[in-house]
């Protein structure tokens, strides 16, 4: 009953968000295409790079296309469905969680569902398009790819909860949260095999980009379901930790009063 009711709620939000986007069709289209174009630029860089150096650290053209397909589709899926979590630090700092707390729904899923992002849909479409058109997978690879993009989306959602929850503890944490995010995105778009030592450790903990740019492309390359499963487990762990941070932070939520009281 509960799950069904949340699915219905999700459908309702998607419907409304879609209608809203359709009020501004051309803006939606241009934002959507902008993201596709932006990602294509990076793909072009890698194609040029691997044209000159065919293999670096076990990575070739096909691998880097796979990497970008996973990273952008995973990120896109997460941001497309849960865009509010993307700006969580700002929402918390400005006391905008209030509105969401007035509804009889679990706060995090409801907040997450509340806003869709058209640029993120561009990322999602780019990822799937690049994978299908450039890598041309067989059915099993494609199934694994779908699984991995969902896992990466879960990972990004958990990561967003983690970095956004900083605002509960620090108040103004937008810059820090953004830098953390930026580092995550950047590391997520370069082969993890480039890094070693303590940086590698960071990539599976603090900046969990290893679960985006490390395990998934390797899993697809070897068609190794254990690795894919490991990615899924890592994603769930990050989601769990992020939810925990949020739950702990919510206890010390001060709403928008902090600002008012300074005057």
């Amino acid at each position: 009953m509960s799950l069904l009711s949340y699915l219905r709620l999700a459908a309702a939000y998607i419907k409304l968000n879609w209608r809203m986007q359709m009020e501004y069709k051309s803006a939606f289209a241009s934002q959507f295409l902008a993201m596709v174009l932006n990602n294509s630029t990076w793909l072009a860089f890698w194609l040029i790079f691997f044209d000159r150096f065919p293999v670096v650290r076990g990575f070739g053209q096909a691998d880097v296309v796979t990497l970008w397909a996973i990273a952008s589709a995973g990120f896109g899926l997460s941001a497309a469905c849960c865009f509010n979590l993307h700006n969580l630090a700002a929402l918390i700092a400005r006391g905008q969680l209030d509105t969401w707390m007035l509804y009889p729904r679990a706060l995090v899923p409801h907040l997450a569902l509340g806003k869709l992002s058209p640029t993120a849909m561009g990322d999602l479409a780019f990822g799937y398009g690049a994978y299908l058109l450039l890598v041309k997978p067989d059915l099993e690879h494609f199934l694994m790819y779908v699984f991995l993009t969902v896992a990466v989306a879960v990972l990004f959602t958990g990561f967003n909860l983690m970095r956004g929850s900083l605002a509960f503890f620090l108040g103004q944490a937008e810059v820090l949260s953004e830098q953390w995010f930026f580092s995550m995105i950047t590391f997520s778009t370069y082969p993890s095999s480039l890094f070693d030592g303590w940086v590698k450790l960071v990539l599976f903990t603090l900046i969990p980009a290893g679960f985006v740019a490390g395990l998934p492309p390797e899993a697809l390359k070897q068609l190794n379901w254990n690795m894919a499963l490991l990615t899924g487990l890592g994603a769930l762990a990050v989601l769990g930790f992020g939810s925990l941070c949020f739950a702990l932070g919510l206890r010390s939520y001060q709403s928008g009063n902090l600002m008012e009281m300074r005057n």
Binding site: A34, V175, Q179, F182, S183, Y190, L194
Partner: protein, 269 residues
């Protein structure tokens, strides 16, 4: 002359203060550069060691990282000129700015130049610290640095013209953000910001030298690693190509501006 210099210094001071006013933003740019340069270092370290060569495209690993430091600093310093012109056109504040004694495009270009040079110096200083920490210093020649400075100024001017073209197209296009994105991404990839032109596939390199993009980024920075014997000739060739672009782009801006003015006087902005 003295007065102009004083004005410029005043503008630079204000810009510099604005650049430092938000410690969060400084921290942000620092982190950005640190992460990006660290990743580039790792990528090129692997590439150099696996290709078994000490020099690629005439650059050692340290020189490659310095190349990328400068191109990133240039990239990050671009003010939002195109968006601003677009906004001026759309909101009609262009009509108000037309009253100023200075011509609108020239005013945009000079303000853009001032702001960009300050931002660039600042980013470069930040980037240089990071590059020094990562790979240490490289051998630099005074005359190459001077030539770099001159051609970077020209490159910024060219980029300003590019932004103006995108911004002014708001007179005819419903939305210029797409064009803006295409322009900046082409600069990024074809300008050699991420990878020097000498590492492009042959056909692509032969093609892009006929486009303005390489002279916005790659051309100037490339001078640093040009052998001493070819330096003067390379600089001269670059300057001629940049000037040719300058003439072509200025003509395009002038044409657009003329057409735009006609529309403004017809519709009242």
């Amino acid at each position: 002359m003295l007065k102009t210099a004083q004005k410029l210094i005043a503008v630079a001071k204000i810009s510099a203060r604005a650049n430092l006013a938000y410690p969060g933003e400084v921290l942000g740019r620092g982190t950005f550069l640190l992460v990006v340069l660290y990743i580039f270092l790792k990528l090129w370290q692997a590439t150099y060691s696996e290709s078994g060569q000490s020099k690629l495209a005439g650059l050692s690993l340290a020189e490659m990282l310095w190349y990328l430091t400068i191109t990133e600093s240039m990239w990050m310093s671009a003010p939002k000129l195109a968006q601003q012109v677009d906004e001026d056109v759309r909101t009609g504040s262009l009509a108000v700015k037309l009253i100023r004694p200075l011509s609108y495009p020239l005013y945009c270009l000079s303000a853009n130049m001032g702001e960009r040079l300050v931002r660039f110096s600042f980013n470069l200083a930040l980037g240089a610290c990071i590059a020094l920490a990562l790979v240490g210093p490289i051998h630099l020649r005074a005359e190459a640095l001077l030539m770099l400075a001159l051609s970077v100024c020209l490159a910024f001017l060219l980029d300003g013209l590019g932004h103006l073209i995108v911004g002014l197209s708001a007179f005819w296009l419903e939305d210029t953000s797409g064009l803006y994105l295409i322009y900046t991404r082409l600069t990024m990839i074809l300008g050699g910001m991420l990878i020097p032109l000498d590492l492009f596939p042959g056909w692509l390199k032969n093609l892009v030298v006929y486009l303005p993009f390489p002279y916005l980024v790659w051309g100037p920075v490339h001078l640093l690693s040009t052998p001493q014997a070819e330096l003067a000739a390379s600089f001269l060739e670059l300057a001629i190509r940049q000037l040719a672009c300058l003439v072509a782009l200025s003509a395009l801006v002038a044409l657009l501006w003329q057409r735009a003015l006609r529309r403004v006087s017809a519709h009242g902005g």
